[in-house]
Assembly symmetry: C2
Homo-oligomer: 273 residues x 2
Amino acid sequence: MTDTPQLHLFDEATRVTAGDSRWQGRTSPDYWAFVGPFGGVTAATVLRALIQHPQIQGDPLAVTVNYCAPIAEGPFDLDVRLVKANRSSQHWLVELSQGGTDPATLATAVFAERRPSWSHQPAPMPDTPPFDQVKRHPNTHVGWTKQYDFRFVDGPPDYGASATAGPFSSYSRLWLSDRKPRKLDCLSLLSMSDAFFPRVFQARSEVVPFGTVSLTTYFHVSREELATENITHVLATADAKLFNRSYHDQNSELWSPSGKLLATTTQIAYFKA
Amino acid sequence: MTDTPQLHLFDEATRVTAGDSRWQGRTSPDYWAFVGPFGGVTAATVLRALIQHPQIQGDPLAVTVNYCAPIAEGPFDLDVRLVKANRSSQHWLVELSQGGTDPATLATAVFAERRPSWSHQPAPMPDTPPFDQVKRHPNTHVGWTKQYDFRFVDGPPDYGASATAGPFSSYSRLWLSDRKPRKLDCLSLLSMSDAFFPRVFQARSEVVPFGTVSLTTYFHVSREELATENITHVLATADAKLFNRSYHDQNSELWSPSGKLLATTTQIAYFKA
């Protein structure tokens, strides 16, 4: 199913070329959002430039992406700089810009040797029926959302209710997969860490102007551990703690079907309501 | 009590001078940690350079600090760059270095106009006795910890138990204040967002090699709202979800006594165990 000779749309969308300190990419119509590319794919493109970099060592540990301005349709440059390296970790800075103007995206990434250690997972995996027993959400034919298969166990998007009756729960729990299944790697895991419907839509049961401002994702497994899972979907949770003064947070967990917490992620987003 | 003519030690420790794009600071022996300054004070020093910058607009919204290498005792430079600005937000990049070498700290910050909006706080404030009914933790006379007043309601540091009996809960809930009371502002709030005993010490009930690698804090109130609270202590929670392959996360909330969620923060840290 994942052995087709063509490149997966996700790999097309996150393709980068050349480069030592400067790389090139291009926005993809397949992963378009409101006013620019889906932020998850932008983050994954940055990460792809890093993991393909000749100097990279270790596994992605922490990625922060600041979305400074919309990215216009077309090509973009990625300025990639190794800020500091030591024996066990690397600190990277990536600036995405178009046509020599101010950066539209500013990202930092930490790579680290994931040496074996004491392991302990206090967070409990949410109780959930298996992926294939949950129905695929039908309303995902707009922009980037059509590239994902969303299977909601709790908190599906349903923006028909009156806003005056709320606020509604901002919590969702779902199985998340590439629409065309693709073996999960650190790139798609990072992209999925932004693949949630805005919490403000949930809490107000309506669509309002929205934009992610900053996203931080921590990887809790090495690339080798992730490859061993050999999966195409994750169990994801998303919630918000506070909506105030035009911004709200979102915090999420991404779980393997086998019960391993693969990544945690948080973001702060602008909304108008 | 906060009206003494001398500068508070925290303000001494986070002092910065001069500068348009380059600022200077100096490490403080009062906030020293294992192998360098306490990370919270480093973060606050970066933020102080920003809020004193002539071009700054809006309130701090998101700060990410990557601790790339230990900072040596003595002076340091802060290279401050406004990466992108628009009508309602600013994206900043700060590199802290010493003697012209590679950066020891790399930070990004988003400032934003906190315009009034719909407000909703789904997160419940943890049930806790008031600050003055909780006893101050006595064992805080080492390094930076002596600058804080820790009043644990749950999960105090207690590293006497045998590691073989664990793992123990990684959760703590406490009142947190500057030892010498100081009116809370965005600087001390950011510093407090790193002022937790390492979760791995809690979970293993022992002290092991530890270092924060990356810290992200979101501010959920404007500076004006924070000033209106007029407080010197916060209710703080801290927990971890996963310890694996030499790294673990920490996620925390910082609450005003009046029940407002002031900041949320997450970090990823190295440990050896």
